[in-house]
């Protein structure tokens, strides 16, 4: 009996699906999937986890370095219509380059076709999303910022080794969080370090993929030429370093192309 019900419901679904398709005129916006693909490069040379663990990059300051870990958080993908309306996808994605996971983010909300003035995402979390929220998947990934630094979550963890001035291979941990000055703890002074990445205008006609590039070298370049010999670890409680990371982050992402 159950089987028969199942069979009927399948047939029913098929019938109802095809009905929908036939009745939708072409000029009414349709809902389509959006996908965000994240790829990485070092000043134009593609970087993937296969390039990790070997000293093979040179940063703007001249240090030879490796990458052992790279993961970062993006959130709140936003679509801006010309009439001022916005569609905000309330969600986030933790891109884990080390393990080649979540390199593709497909929000589970469909977007109406049409022309948009801009599409953006947030690097990290805005303060509303960062605090007073408990994200089990991010906790499971040990993505938290210590409570004594205000809590919330990391924005990025970039780790590896560099060759220091006395030729010794040394670990660095370039972690991005919201800048916090702890010198008057428990009174904490913050400065926002999440930022918006604008991908520009787009005419969405179909299921669409945004191919986004991170130039990892930019984190060490502009406007602050990063000296790993000075700033290589203990950066989380270093307010000024966090602000510099934020400044250097502005030119890290770019839209490579769109496919739809």
């Amino acid at each position: 009996m159950k089987k028969i019900i199942a069979l009927f419901s399948i047939i029913f679904t098929i019938v109802s699906c095809s009905d929908d398709d036939n009745n939708t005129p072409n000029n009414v916006p349709q809902n389509v999937n959006t996908t965000f693909n994240f790829t990485h490069n070092w000043d134009g040379t593609a970087v993937s986890s296969a390039d990790f663990n070997n000293i093979q990059f040179t940063n703007a300051n001249g240090e030879e370095m490796s990458i052992e870990k790279l993961r970062y958080l993006i959130s709140n993908v936003t679509f801006y219509k010309s009439n001022g309306e916005t569609i905000v996808i309330d969600g986030y994605n933790l891109i884990d380059v080390t393990n080649d996971s979540e390199l593709t983010y497909t929000p589970n909300i469909d977007i109406p076709t049409g022309s948009y003035e801009n599409v953006s995402f947030t690097f990290g979390f805005n303060n509303e999303d960062n605090y007073n929220n408990n994200y089990p998947d991010l906790n499971s990934a040990l993505w938290n910022v210590p409570d004594m630094m205000g809590g919330g979550y990391h924005y990025m963890q970039l780790e590896g080794k560099y060759i220091n001035t006395i030729d010794v291979e040394t670990g660095y941990a370039y972690h991005a969080i919201r800048a916090v000055n702890m010198s008057n703890a428990p009174d904490l002074l913050f400065q926002d370090t999440f930022f918006t990445v604008n991908l520009g205008p787009v005419n969405i006609t179909n299921n669409i993929s945004f191919n986004i590039e991170m130039n990892i070298a930019e984190w060490f370049k502009n406007p602050n030429q990063w000296d790993l010999n000075v700033l290589y670890n203990m950066l989380m409680p270093n307010f000024d370093a966090q602000v510099m990371i934020y400044e250097n982050g502005q030119n890290v992402f770019s839209l490579k192309n769109i496919s739809q």
């Binding site: 906790n139 938290n144 409570d147 040394t170």
Partner: protein, 357 residues
Amino acid sequence: MRSKFLYISCLIGLIYTSCTNEPADNYVSYSPTPQPLNIPPLFEENIIAPVLPIDNPQTVEGIALGKKLFFDPILSADNTQACASCHAPQNAFTDSARFSIGIDGIAGNRNSMPLFNMAWNYDELFFWDGRVFSLEHQAIEPVTNPIEMHNTWEVVVSRLQQSNEYPELFQAAFGNQTITKELATKAIAQFERTLISANSKFDRYLLGEATLTPEEQNGLNVFMDETRGDCFHCHGNPNNPLWTDNIFHNNGLDATFTDLGLGEISGDPTDNGKFKSPSLRNLAFTAPYMHDGRFNTLDEVINHYSEGLVDSPTIDPLMKKVDEGGVHLTPQDKSDLKAFLLTLSDPSFINNPDFQN
């Protein structure tokens, strides 16, 4: 061949019965009682759901059978050693030896591992070097390991089949009197998944049922402070009750490696000397420490991180001031860190009557 025939006839039988409405009263019914994992509130709230294979659901009968197998020396060649010999409840399911001794009196080169909260090892990589995927597969290994139980599964299966208790227990757990190593290891894995530790002083502190001393509180701060202990990037934080990342790192024990750890398994030299971060729960019961049990006390462990770090090409970037051996914690910070670590131990886990033989 015969088993294939059996399988096909079962399948035909199954299809037949499901297509008709005849009551299936012509064979012995088998209805194990589902026993879903009892997920502690702190786990439920803070971390993602445990890994439970769909082809091995937790049942009262399966767990009971698994427990009996876990404590039964019948698994070892000479009937002297059970899983519990090296994984004893009073040691949070590890043992107190540096290297566990197998039935032939031969010691291995690794320290036994405590067993708890293993359903939350999301990558399901087990052993210090992560060489086995899933608890079901892990349980196959100790039985045949020549320096552990040194047996064969053929012998184990025939002993179990001939015993006057086990066939009935397998029937109750799996609807099958025919014992196989797959069913035996499924049962063991079910029991292992019930080994949940979630009632340490620190857990109760998080639930508002206990308070930390000033020393323990400072110890937590040392643990969470990137300029002092900086333990949290690998061993977790109060938002994650596991106290491990279950990921492989080189935490600066040696300049050269006799045991390659993950590197032996992956074949990648950049993995040499990497071992799985252990959970810091239940340290009060799990000495000695590290994959080779080299440290007898937590003081030695803390001294290692504070001033004993040794450089090597694969050392984790998070190990700081390696040229000076570490960050040189003050004596006060060291003793407070130890006090904090001990708040993660859970006496109710090692005394849980459900887990005793």
